[in-house]
């Protein structure tokens, strides 16, 4: 052996190990699984937004050949355990807790609310069976907007609550709000809204539940962001012991926050399988996905801003109302995060924040990529509105107000330190990348020709996982754990509770572990998606880069130490003199001593060493986030608005972003671009629309428009050199930032383009029809 060279993978755009199967149609998504004796479920859904269920007659459906069973809400209620939403319970929700059943019993609460489930030999027959279920409804006045929901006279969706308040009104003040406003030169008032839109992963929700009557074990093949959270939800609602529920997942066709835990439909399918003793599959169709899977945002903000004549944003006073739709979910918890994040990277002296969450007869709130994103939208919109009044350019007002990097770091008025935040640097980099004076000249020339160009910028910070606190980072559910094992064939196996659904963890975690342990990338296997073998975990909240990347690094280090300890017995050398390089254990400096790690593992497994030698080459590692840190940056868009058609074209989109040390730049940039595309969609195309009776108007892809390859421009990305906070782990999450900051970036650019018309924008959804309205009556 001439030399042992180490290849370093971390930081390189290593090609994804997921791709060979995905590119050949060999991915295994939940709908690809076929089990012997498997039945298919379809749901009877309410055509009305709000109604009493008078009767459900399933006799004709049950008589249809091929229908195995029809379960009504009342029948399912007897098979399951009442209780709160499992995810909210896990997150410690202590507010109003509505009582509801998996399938509607007393009443339906949105158009699409499941009322009964038909189980049949095929999905075709199951849907035939749904047509034959007769449901009699007694219509109630629908509560379809937040202002009616806030009216104590509105009919309560949930009898046990008595009103439609999902989170009672609260107000908190940070800093001296009254004094800050009293001292301001100017006070601005704005009302800004964010419309309802939704995740729309290309694969909808779905599961197969398979109950084994002999063992009493229920296996759920799920599309989920966490097999363990799904398991908790199933066990809770079906009243089963945890060890009798196993949740398995394979490839997942996107989620963006939608697939956490188990939905009411999935729990109903699990209960049906247990009742029938047969596997039952349900995969939602696009109509169900758009109308019933869940929706996000729909928030309104009354904002007062205290400002100096020079353009210093001194304080904000914000009243937020969020419309969380029908059934309880994360929506009631969102205002707390919005409040904490509202100052962003800026130096506010004071913040007043009050909020209320309401329940309405629309699809339930679900998490969608950056659930608190409206704080960025509103703040970045307000900054531009103020800048226009004061005659400042958009980068100038931001540079003026952004907190400088100091030691000790500036602290957000709501409490968290802005440690390592490089917003100022990102603004300066954007100014270099986009020559603003040159753009203004081009803009003026274009206007002279009747063309309307605009530029917009916005900044954000993303707690990914956020700054260090004594208890560790505040990311969802705390520490991350991982089991790592050196297998007999030399494979380093990582067992993680992460449940990748596009994030490329099978590649990125292997990069980190390969470097730290000292094996080729191909020799690391990342095992996910089986509650019987992986530890607790959740993919979400931008936590995996730091938390799971960190535990992969520290875990691989611990495993390596253990392997070297064992090898020291084998090789009769001190562990301190041993090294693992390129899959070989060797005495440093003497390549002739090299032994493949697989050989070491086989010797460990041989049992030839006594009890005093630890030959179990496995560790369980945990990571608390280390020094953690923020992601963040500045985005800038240049748009052209056609004032004849209302069509907005994004001409250029530039990102200056700091997400710490990059594990795999191509993966990072894919996350940023994908988020930006969703943000562009939110502004120009997407809206979950309801009419005044509560009928969903966006139930197909011809009504709910998502961006295509012609709508999203090339996105230029610059990585800002990060401030290293931790000795080892400076990777930070990047999954949500694009979606958080792209909407204000694009809206700011549109307003700039339309400034000759005196347009001021206080909303996020700007399809062509709305652009034309703004141009004609600004």
């Amino acid at each position: 052996m001439a030399a042992i060279a180490a290849e370093r993978y971390t930081g390189a755009s290593i090609k994804r190990s997921e791709d060979p199967r995905i590119l050949t149609g060999a991915g295994r998504y939940v709908d690809d699984i076929k089990l012997p004796g498997m039945l298919h479920a379809a749901f009877v859904r309410s055509p009305m937004a709000h109604a009493r269920v008078v009767s459900v007659d399933a006799s004709a459906s049950r008589a249809l050949p091929g229908v195995a069973a029809v379960l009504t809400g009342a029948e399912l209620e007897e098979m399951t355990v009442p209780g709160p939403d499992a995810l909210m319970a896990l997150m410690g929700w202590a507010g109003p807790t509505p009582q509801f059943t998996l399938l509607a019993t007393d009443k339906v609460r949105f158009a699409g609310d499941p009322v009964a489930v038909v189980i049949a030999e095929s999905r075709y027959v199951a849907e035939d069976g749904c047509e034959l279920v007769e449901v009699e409804y007694d219509q109630l006045p629908p509560v379809t907007n937040a202002s009616f929901a806030l009216d104590p006279g509105s009919p309560p969706l949930f009898a046990n609550l008595g009103d439609n308040i999902a989170r009672p009104h609260s107000r908190r003040e940070f800093g001296d709000v009254a004094a800050t406003f009293a001292a301001a030169d100017r006070v601005f008032d704005f009302r800004i809204g964010v419309h309802r839109h939704q995740n729309v992963p290309m694969e909808g929700r779905g599961c197969i539940a398979s109950y084994d009557t002999g063992s009493g074990v229920l296996t759920v093949y799920a599309a989920t962001q966490s097999v363990h959270v799904t398991k908790v939800a199933v066990a809770m609602r079906l009243g089963m012991e945890g060890d009798k529920v196993r949740v398995v997942a394979g490839d997942i066709g996107g989620s963006f926050g939608l697939k956490i835990g188990a939905s009411r439909e999935e729990l109903a399918v699990a209960a049906a399988s247990r009742a029938l003793g047969q596997p039952v599959k349900w995969v939602e169709d696009r109509g169900e996905n758009l109308t019933a899977s869940g929706q996000a945002r729909e928030e309104s903000f009354d904002v007062r801003a205290a400002v100096s004549d020079a353009g210093d944003l001194l304080g904000l006073d914000v009243k937020m109302v969020i419309d969380t739709g029908a059934y309880p979910g994360m929506g009631a918890m969102v205002p707390g995060i919005v409040e904490e994040m509202f100052p962003g990277p800026y130096q506010l002296a004071a913040l007043g924040f009050e909020s209320t969450a309401v329940t309405t007869n629309k699809a339930s709130y679900v998490a969608y990529r950056g659930p608190w994103a409206s704080e960025t939208f509103v703040r970045e919109r307000v900054l531009d509105l103020i800048a226009k009044d004061l005659g400042l350019d958009p980068l100038e007002i931001r540079l003026r107000n952004v907190a400088p990097r100091t030691d000790p770091p500036a602290v957000m008025v709501t409490g968290r330190p802005l440690v390592g935040v490089t917003t100022k640097e990102s603004l300066e980099r954007i100014a270099q990348l986009v020559d603003l004076p040159a753009f203004r000249r081009r803009q003026a020339e274009a206007r002279a020709q009747g063309r309307y160009l605009g530029i917009g910028a916005a900044t954000f910070i993303e707690a990914a996982p956020g700054p260090r606190s004594p208890e560790g980072p505040d990311g969802p559910m705390g520490n991350e754990s991982m089991r790592l094992r050196l297998e007999d064939d030399g494979i380093v196996a990582l067992f993680t509770g992460q449940m990748p659904h596009g994030q490329s963890h099978q590649t990125t975690l292997a990069q980190i572990a390969a470097d730290e342990f000292g094996v080729p990338f191909e020799q690391v296997r990342v095992v996910v998606g089986d509650t019987d073998v992986v530890p607790f975990g959740l993919t979400g909240g931008s936590r995996s880069a730091t938390m799971t990347g960190g535990v992969a690094l520290h875990g691989a280090r611990q495993l390596k130490a253990k392997v070297l300890d064992f090898a020291s017995h084998l090789m009769e050398a001190s562990a301190r003199d041993l090294e693992i390089t390129d899959g070989q254990v060797w005495v440093r400096g003497d390549p002739a001593t090299a032994i493949p790690v697989g050989e070491v593992a086989r010797r460990a497994a041989s049992g030839q060493f006594g009890a005093d030698v630890d030959a179990d080459l496995e560790v369980v590692a945990a990571f608390d986030g280390g020094e953690a840190g923020w992601s963040g940056g500045t985005h800038c868009a240049i748009v052209e608005v056609d004032v004849e058609t209302g069509i907005v074209t994004v001409e250029r989109y530039v990102v200056a972003e700091d997400c710490g040390a990059l594990i795999n730049p191509a993966v990072v940039e894919g996350q940023i671009r994908g988020g930006v595309a969703q943000g562009i969609g939110a502004v120009l195309l997407e809206r979950s629309a309801y009419d005044e009776d509560g009928n969903c108007q966006s139930a197909t892809f011809m009504d709910y428009l998502v961006p295509t390859a012609c709508d999203v421009p090339r996105i230029e990305i610059e990585h800002i050199e990060t401030v290293a906070l931790d000795a080892d782990v400076n990777f930070r999450g990047v999954g949500e930032g694009g979606m958080i900051v792209a909407p204000p970036t694009v809206v700011n650019a549109i307003e700039d383009a339309l400034s000759p018309f005196g347009v001021r924008i206080y909303e996020q959804h700007l399809p062509p029809a709305r652009i034309l309205e703004l141009v004609s009556s600004p």
Binding site: S13, K15, R16, E18, D19, P20, R21, I22, L23, T24, G25, A26, G27, R28, Y29, D31, D32, K34, Y124, V200, P201, M202, E203, D251, I252, G253, G254, F256, D285, R286, H501, G502, Q503, S504, A666, V667, G670, R673, G674, V676, A677, Q678, T700, F701, M702, V706, P707, T708, A709, C710, V712, R714, I715
Partner: protein, 168 residues
């Protein structure tokens, strides 16, 4: 109804119900689950397959309409396993595996759900338009929705495949 058709070069028979879509027939009756269903109303393109040389949406075509035709699915483009070093070479040779290789090299995809339809659409388009430029490729793929990537990496993969094809 009894039908005979060729799928990925092999004669196949089946007896689908008249109302069964080609997509469901491929997935359920022939166990070719590489073809995905993203909307079942012809908008998202995830179910795109090639029928007699043209890209079609298998959710909008009935299985019985495919009788007597030649259908190619993503499985028909299958590369040899990466472990054999065969990534990028199609069993029969040719440029199709080259597209998949270029997409791998370009980090084209994330969750992979839209991938089979996107690949089939791009394969059909490139075979007719080997010199297509970026805007033409964007338009050709604009009927295939990807929710993860923002498309740039996919477009780059198609451009790379076209460039490599020209260099050969």
């Amino acid at each position: 109804m009894d039908i005979t058709l060729r799928v990925n070069g092999t004669a196949r028979e089946g007896s689908p119900e008249a109302r069964k879509t080609l997509a469901d027939f491929l997935r359920e009756d022939l166990s070719l689950t590489g073809t995905h269903l993203g909307c079942e109303h012809g908008v998202c393109g995830a179910c795109t397959v090639i029928v007699d040389g043209r890209a079609v949406r298998s959710c909008l075509m009935l299985a019985v309409q495919a009788a007597g035709r030649e259908v190619t699915t993503i499985e028909g483009l299958a590369m040899k396993g990466a472990s054999e070093g065969g990534m990028g070479r199609r069993a029969g040779g040719g440029e199709l595996g080259a597209l998949q290789q270029a997409m791998w090299d370009s980090h084209s995809f994330q969750c992979g759900f839209c991938t089979p339809g996107m690949v089939m659409q791009a394969v059909a388009f490139l075979s007719d338009h080997p010199d297509a430029d970026e805007q033409q490729i964007r338009e050709a793929l604009s009927g295939n929705i990807c929710r993860c990537t923002g498309y740039q990496s996919i477009i780059d993969g198609v451009l790379l495949a076209a460039e490599r094809n020209r260099e050969r």
